[in-house]
Amino acid sequence: MRTYEVAFIAAPTLTPEELEAFITQMQTVVEGKNGKVVKVDNWGKKPLAYKIKKFRDGYYVIMTLEADGAAIAELERRFRVADHVIRFLSVRVDTDLKRSEKIKSARQRKTVVRPVPAPVPVEDFEAEPPSAPIG
């Protein structure tokens, strides 16, 4: 099992109900392939940085999945077939997140094992005798 982040942009011509229906449909696809949908993040309608298929905005949806490659392949196939999906991107995130956690925990360990060394006591310097006035 791997963790993936699958993001897609749906056409703005879709109604919110249709979008919801599509998202639940995609969830069943993932579950059908023994995957698990951890989180669905719906950003709503957002402007695009550039035109895609003559659309200026679109619905952004980001799904976090725990699934195998087969589930992702099926999901991507469906995205390609669906006319109202104008862009999609799936990213495997488990390796990067693991690395990120490792760095974080290592950093924490470092601060625990090596506490800030006590400041070196400053020895009292003998006060320099005031220089004799010249002349």
């Binding site: 942009i9 940085a49 952004y60 980001i62 991107l89 760095i103």
Partner: protein
């Protein structure tokens, strides 16, 4: 006569991501990434931004992903 004092532009030489302890650069965070996109929409070279090599690599990957998802532009002017 003393030599004329040369002024050099002092830049932040500390990597922003190291300083803020960011260990994973997310492509969805357009606001963060936009700091590294000059007017033209290019990726800011690290000799200017001061980002360390590890984070620059992650950053460029994240920017490219963000461009694909129309979060950031490929070109703008």
């Amino acid at each position: 006569m003393p030599a004329p004092k040369r002024f050099s532009v002092k830049r932040r030489r500390v990597c922003k991501f190291c300083a803020e302890k960011i260990t994973y650069i997310d492509f969805k965070d357009g606001k963060l990434l936009s700091h590294f996109i000059p007017e033209r929409g290019k990726i800011l070279p690290r000799r200017i931004s001061g980002v360390c090599s590890v984070h620059q690599r992650q950053l460029s990957e994240a920017i490219k992903r963000a461009r694909h998802m129309a979060i950031l532009p490929f070109v703008s002017d």
